[in-house]
Symmetry: C2
């Protein structure tokens, strides 16, 4: 395992594809092709980004035959998403919150 900087920590989540993967895995553990379906993204793209998440221990993997199942490190991710949620809702009170877009003007 590798060591992580604070910067790296945030970089990992500063990406739409990886956030979609995380949200998909919040619902349930999945293998790669199910993740692809669930977030409607290409397999190689998903695999590349799974690697990033895995390298930083935000997800764990387990092979079962042909499939590789990924699951979340909920210890870190659940409370973190909660803080983000709270911040977004506190400072964006007119419910224009979008999970996967950049700034949206009022």
């Amino acid at each position: 395992m590798k060591c992580m900087s604070y910067e790296k920590f945030f970089e990992v989540f500063a990406n739409e594809t990886r956030l979609k993967i995380v949200e998909s895995l919040v619902e349930s553990n999945k293998n790669v092709s199910d993740i692809c379906k669930s977030i409607n993204e290409e397999q190689s793209k998903v695999s590349h980004n799974l690697k990033v998440l895995h390298d930083c221990n935000f997800i764990t993997k387990e092979r079962n035959g042909k499939h590789v199942f990924y699951s979340l490190n909920k210890t870190t991710i659940k409370p973190m998403l909660k803080i983000v949620d709270k911040h977004v809702h506190t400072f964006c009170k007119d419910n224009c919150v979008k999970k996967h877009e950049n700034y949206i003007p009022r």
Copy 2:
């Protein structure tokens, strides 16, 4: 004020300069030139990044004469840094943690 995506939230912190600013402001509120001194970075660089932090309500500003004082939104940032800290220390047990560098091999 503008609305924020999850992605944007993390992007803001996925930057060494902004993390240094945050850490400096954890210690104490400061005006711009004091921040520059404290983190040893150029003024325009700091100002650009203060703007990013401020636009997302991670810091507040208050002018006092010639100086502009910035202070942290501790509600969001303190618990968030705590989670990052915990993750880093849990998954990098051989105390090679660096706050402002990328991966370091074991």
